[in-house]
């Protein structure tokens, strides 16, 4: 009796949640900005936050609602590195390649992470577990080289501890 009811929500969490209100939140964000075309970046920001990436359907919806040409919306979404058009992995590792971080050896760091993960920078692993990304300056030059692991900024990043942390993140059981 316990097992079926406990399994059901877990099943739903794994797939795309059916009755999700993310679209409603995006709509509310646009409404709050009175559907003004110049609110595009704020709206895309919210959508990216909610979905983790911007799908063509979502971009088309935003373009329609804000009375913007689809090509303009696509142009803005691809111009800023913050926006991602492809779904990102469960975990993300963003290496800053800004000038300060680069001088402090971010390129070596990235090469080591690429070797450790078997991914090329800017791609997501086939199993969707990890995205290895790069950024141009996080504004944290004081702690260069900086890396963002799942939203947590790691300053003065060194190769070995970072690779260790990445391993631990991907295999929490230590398997």
């Amino acid at each position: 009796m316990v097992s079926p009811s406990a399994a059901a929500p877990a099943q739903r969490d794994r797939g795309a949640p059916p009755a999700d209100n993310r679209l409603k939140i995006v709509e509310a964000t646009m409404k709050r900005h009175q559907y003004r075309p110049d609110a595009l970046i704020e709206v895309l920001h919210k959508a990216q936050e909610l979905y983790g990436h911007l799908s063509p359907e979502l971009l088309a919806l935003v373009a329609r609602r804000l009375h913007l040409p689809p090509s303009r919306v696509y142009g803005v979404a691809t111009f800023y590195h913050f926006f991602s058009l492809a779904p990102q992995g469960e975990h993300t590792c963003t290496v800053c390649l800004g000038t300060a971080c680069y001088v402090k050896g971010a390129a070596t760091l990235l090469a080591a992470l690429e070797a450790a993960s078997g991914l090329r920078a800017g791609t997501t692993s086939a199993d969707g577990r990890l995205s290895l990304l790069t950024a141009r300056c996080l504004g944290a030059c004081g702690i260069a080289p900086a890396v963002v692991l799942d939203g947590t900024v790691v300053g003065h990043a060194a190769v070995e501890p970072l690779v260790e942390r990445l391993r631990a993140l991907l295999n929490p059981a230590g398997a």
């Binding site: 040409p69 689809p70 142009g75």
Partner: protein, 235 residues
């Protein structure tokens, strides 16, 4: 409107207030090379080919976007400027795959004309030679991204004259490409009215008419100005 008197390349020129240096120079019969400028469209000052020297300013200014001022002294063709212009054209060639020998626009290409006029005999920079796509999904037109210089004349003609904005620029840096709608193949871009203004606005062979082969292309960039002028007369 007040008249402004300025000196361009040593000749006294009279211009209307609010006019750009480029317009004033053209009226005086002085040619300043341009690429992203097209009569009838807004200026973006992106190509930097029309940069001129102003007395009293160390910075070079784009002639297309700099309004004339009383007593301004402009030099349009110093050795420094010619060298900059050559470098710009060479960089444009190095950025994509421009092969005039097999291009539909050869002989009717503004980039080719610029290179010839500026005396570009070779390119000092390594060619990036990126792998670009050719989109011939549209029944009447095609786009070969190898030949695109990202002047955005198609984007502005589509937005400002046709009022559709099918085109825009996606990505940034060397990965920047002109795209239609949500980066769909041109033939599937539902907003496109197939008016062909982008074809006439394109300075190179990037946007071409389907079925036109080498040296067959006839372009009429004056159409853009004509449409704008005709509209002004009617309303």
């Amino acid at each position: 409107m007040a008249a402004k008197t300025l000196t361009i390349d040593g000749t006294l020129v009279s211009a209307r207030e609010g006019e750009s240096i480029l317009e004033a120079a053209r009226e005086a019969g002085i040619t300043i090379p341009t690429l992203c400028h097209l009569d009838g469209l807004s200026e973006v000052g992106a190509c930097r080919l029309c940069l001129v020297e102003l007395t009293g300013s160390r910075r070079l200014q784009p002639a297309c976007l700099t309004p004339v001022a009383e007593g301004m002294e402009v030099r349009t063709s110093t050795e420094r400027l010619r060298e900059h212009r050559r470098a710009i054209v060479e960089l444009l060639f190095a950025e994509r795959g421009h092969v005039c020998a097999v291009c539909v626009a050869s002989g009717a290409c503004e980039l080719q004309d610029l290179a010839a006029r500026l005396g570009v005999t070779h390119v000092r920079y390594d060619y990036l030679a990126p792998a670009c796509t050719v989109d011939i999904s549209h029944p009447r037109f095609g786009i070969d991204h190898h030949r695109c210089v990202l002047c955005t004349r198609c984007v502005r003609a589509c937005d400002e004259v046709e009022g559709v904005h099918t085109w825009d620029v996606a990505g940034r840096g060397t990965a920047a490409r002109v795209i239609t709608d949500l980066h769909v193949p041109w033939g599937q871009a539902t907003s496109c009215t197939s008016c062909g203004k982008c074809l006439h606005a394109c300075p190179t062979g990037a946007i071409f008419q389907r079925g036109s082969s080498v040296a067959e292309l006839k372009r009429d960039p004056g159409v853009i100005a004509l449409v704008v002028a005709a509209r002004k007369e009617r309303w």
